[in-house]
Amino acid sequence: MADSDTVTRAAPDTVKILIAGGFGVGKTTMVGSVSEIAPLRTEEPLTEAGLGIDDLAGIEEKKATTVALDFGRITIGDDLVLYLFGTPGQQRFWFMWNDLALGALGAVVLVDVRRPESSFAAIDFFERRGIPFVVGVNGFYGEHPYPPDEIRDALALPDHVQVLLCDARERGSCRDVLIALLDQLIAVAEEAEGGGTLTRPGR
């Protein structure tokens, strides 16, 4: 119809949060648990620049010619949509993280207690760039053998970074991790707005 509804649906504002952590730590599971759509995947051809800095030794059989990015969506309202992006887990895809991190509200770093070292790189990345993040300890089979403070020590995390026990398969659990991140961001924003002292949100 030519004179159809001229209800030009205004495009919503968009924001994003990154879900980071080592390979196989449950990033896509978490995205899927809270996303209103099944996680979508886009694949990028690996650039020569990326290949140059990557150590491809031992992974030739994977034919690493593309890097996959899984993401989900949460509609906050008519005018605001939140996207969750799982960062590529393998170290050789770090060059993509920079682009991804640009303009992100913050990040969730998922940690597998059985091999926490696989998430060191992600923690390091966000710390260096001053990108706010919380740590979600993904208890596999819902089990949490260590209390949060022990994990904080093991990861040498600063006091202002929250550590939350979670289950990436559970919607409510993932939601709570995201809310903790938002609370942390809000606390910092309130301080900035109040022009107050530069104390970090306590914990």
Partner: protein
């Protein structure tokens, strides 16, 4: 999820961009939203089939990343085609909400409230 089938695509992705690997503009991010201009400008030429697919998908606002996933094409390829469509006046583009060092309290509160409703 796109078909990661071993058969591959019928058309190699960068064939759709005339061999170009870089967009003419740098302002398309993964969460930039694009919307087809409806009705199309009177001077518009007939779009190519792949462009037509894009226009169909963005009849309503859609983020670049979603568009790429739906089309099963790399984001970089989709962005080059979006640049062409933008230059042809066929789409409008809305950049993501800027996130600066001094965060927007209202925005954060809104996101938090939205998450609380999950």
């Amino acid at each position: 999820m796109g078909g990661g089938d071993t058969a591959g695509r019928l058309v190699r992705p960068f064939a759709l961009t005339g061999g170009r690997t870089r967009p003419s503009r740098a302002d398309f991010t993964l969460i930039t939203t694009v919307t087809a201009v409806d009705p199309p400008p009177t001077w518009a030429t007939r779009p190519q089939p792949e462009q037509q697919r894009i226009l169909r998908h963005c009849a309503r606002p859609i983020a670049v990343a979603e568009l790429a996933a739906l089309l099963d094409l790399p984001v970089s390829v989709v962005v080059i085609m979006l640049c062409d469509l933008l230059e042809a006046g066929r789409i409008t583009v809305r950049p993501p909400r800027p996130v600066s060092q001094t965060p927007d309290l209202d925005l954060l509160q809104k996101v938090r409230d939205g998450l609380g409703r999950l």
